[in-house]
Amino acid sequence: MRKISFLVLFLLVSSICFASEQVLVGRGAGNISGGAMAPLMGQDPSFWQFTESSAHCVASSAGTLKKLTAQLSAAPGAGTSRTVVLRKNASSSSLTCTISNTDTSCSDTLNTVTVAAGDRFSIQVNNSGSPAAASIRYSTVFDGSTSGESFYCGNSNGLSMASATNVQFFSTRQANTGTMLMPTSGTFKNLHISLSVAPGAGKSWAFTVNKSGATSLTCTVSDTNTTCSDTSNSFTVSAGDEVTISSSPTNTPASNVPSVAVTFLADTAGQFVFAMSDTSSPSNTSTNYMNVQSAKSNAFSGTEISTITNGFTAKAIYVNLNGSPGSGKSYTYTLRQNAGSTSLSCAVSDLNTTCSTTTDVTISDNDSINTQSVPSASPSFQAVRVGILGFISGGGASGPKKGAVILTI
C-alpha cells in the first residue's frame, strides 16, 4: 500500500502574532492609608493619593495586565488585612489579592485585565481594621498584543503642573525630571496624554517627546478636552540615547496633574526597559541605593530600598552622568538582587560620563531589585540616568498561527 504523505501548510489570513511581556514595578515609600491609590509603575510615591486623576497611569498599548504580586514591609496583624487591587478607568478590576494577619505578601496569578490604549490604571490598597503601618512594593506583568511592544507611563502623583516643564515618565512628585536612558534599540510611538483638568477655552498644553532635544512625538490638549494622542509619528532610538517628555502652556491653561504614556517597540521582541533618573547626585562618599524605575531628585538613599518584581532576565545596564567624576575618581552602578550585587555593573571613571555592561542575570518571581551607587575617591557630584534592559522570552502566543498537517494515505 502506497503511503502518500501530504504536507499541507496553512497560511491564514491573519499573520502570526506572539505577544511580548513586560514587567512593571511600583513602590510606595510611606504608610498606606485605606483607599489610597498609587500609579501602576514608577516608584517612591511618598504621598498616596485619594483622587483617581492624581494617581492613574494611562496606557499607550493594547494587551492584558496580569500576575499582580504585592509585599508589605510589615504584616497587618491579627484581625486586620490590606487588599491590593488594580483599578481600571476608575473601577476596581478582578486583579486583586489580600494580605492578612501575619502574612506580608500576596499574589493573583489567575485573573487578567484587558488593556486598550487610553485606559487608565492605578493600584489601590484598601484596609480592613487598623493594620500595622507599612509601605508596599508591587509588580504586574503587561502582556502586549503586539510583539515587541512595551509602554511607559507616568503621573506627577498629585503635583500640579502650572508652567512649562519636563514631565516625568515615572511617577514622582517633582517636575523637571524623568529622562529615559535607553539600553537597547527600537522605536518610540503612540504618545497618550490624560489631564486631570481641561486647559480652558482658548488655552492649551502641548506635549512633546524629545530625543536629544529634537521633537519627535507631539500632541496638544486644548479648550475643554482632557486627552490627546499622537499615533501617527514615531522615531527610532539606539542604545545610549536619552528620551524626555516636555510640556508647554499657551494662554495660561488651568493647573493640572498630567498622566503621560508612550509605547516602545523594541527591535528584539521580548525586551523592555527599567529607567531611573535623578537630577541630583548620589553621595560621593557613601554607597547609595535607588529604585530601578523612578524619576526624582534626591531619591538616593543610604538605606537599601528596593522593589519586588516578577521574573525576567536582566541583560544590560547603561549609565549616563551629567559630567565626569574626575581624574582617578569614579561611580560604580550595579543592579542588586535580594540585597546582593549582580554581574550587571559598570563604572563611570575619570573624564568619562558613560558606561555600560551586557550580560545575562536571571531575576526570579518575588525577587527584590534596586540600583546601587558606590563612589571612589570622592568624585564630583553628578546627576545620573540609568537604563536597565529586561527580557522575557516567548511571551504568550496570541492570534492564529501557521500550522502544518501531515496526512498519510
Binding site: F50, S81, T83, G302, F381
Partner: protein, 192 residues
C-alpha cells in the same frame, strides 16, 4: 472473642486522632460589583476574627463566592450569613472612601512622615530646617549682643564704637545655601 476486643482497641485509638477538615460556605456574589467581590477575602477574615477565631481563609473564590477555612472553630453558617457578609463588605468599602476631614488628617500625617523620613526627601527637609535654625539663632545672638552694648554704653559715641565691634552679617547667596544644604546632608547630622 478476639474480634470485638480488636474493634474496641481500634476505636479507642481512632478517637485519639483528629483529621484536618476544610469547611466551606458559599456566599451569593451574583449581585456583587467587582469592588464588592474584591473585598470578599478581607470581609470573611474580618468576620471570623470578630467571631473569636483568628484564621485566614484557606481559599476564596470571588467568582463563585465559595470561602473555605481549615478546621474553623466557629460555625461558618452562623458567621457568614448573606446579610453579615454584604453589610461588612459595604462597611469596608465605605471606610475606603475617606471624607475630606480624613484626607486632611492623612495628609498631615504624610507631612510629618516626610519630615521624619530617612530617605532623601526627609534629609533635605531637615537640612533646610537645620540651616534656618542656625541662621535665626545667629540673628538672636547678634540682637542680644546689640542689647548688651546698648545697656553698657555711656553715651552715643560710646555706643557707636561698641556696635562697630559687632560682626557684619552679609547676605547669603543661593549658591552658598545649596552648598550648605549638601554639606549638612553629607555630614550625617540630618540623617534622622
Amino acid at each position: 472473642m478476639k474480634k470485638p476486643l480488636f474493634i474496641l482497641v481500634f476505636m479507642i485509638l481512632l478517637s485519639n486522632y483528629s483529621f484536618a477538615a476544610e469547611v466551606c460556605k458559599t456566599i451569593d456574589v451574583s449581585l456583587y460589583s467587582q469592588e464588592q467581590k474584591n473585598f470578599l477575602y478581607a470581609s470573611v477574615y474580618d468576620l471570623i476574627f470578630k467571631a473569636g477565631d483568628n484564621r485566614v481563609p484557606s481559599s476564596v473564590d470571588t467568582s463563585t463566592g465559595e470561602v473555605c477555612f481549615q478546621d474553623p472553630a466557629v460555625n461558618l453558617n452562623s458567621v457568614f450569613t448573606q446579610n453579615n457578609v454584604t453589610n461588612n463588605i459595604n462597611a469596608l468599602i465605605a471606610d475606603a472612601s475617606p471624607t475630606p476631614e480624613k484626607i486632611n488628617s492623612i495628609q498631615r500625617e504624610h507631612a510629618k512622615e516626610a519630615l521624619s523620613s530617612v530617605e532623601g526627601d526627609g534629609k533635605l527637609l531637615r537640612a533646610i530646617a537645620d540651616i534656618i535654625k542656625d541662621e535665626i539663632n545667629l540673628l538672636r545672638q547678634w540682637t542680644a549682643s546689640f542689647k548688651g552694648e546698648v545697656a553698657s554704653a555711656s553715651n552715643l559715641a560710646d555706643l557707636k564704637t561698641r556696635v562697630a565691634t559687632l560682626p557684619n552679617l552679609s547676605d547669603r547667596t543661593l549658591s552658598q545655601l545649596k552648598t550648605e544644604i549638601q554639606n549638612r546632608i553629607d555630614s550625617g547630622q540630618v540623617d534622622s
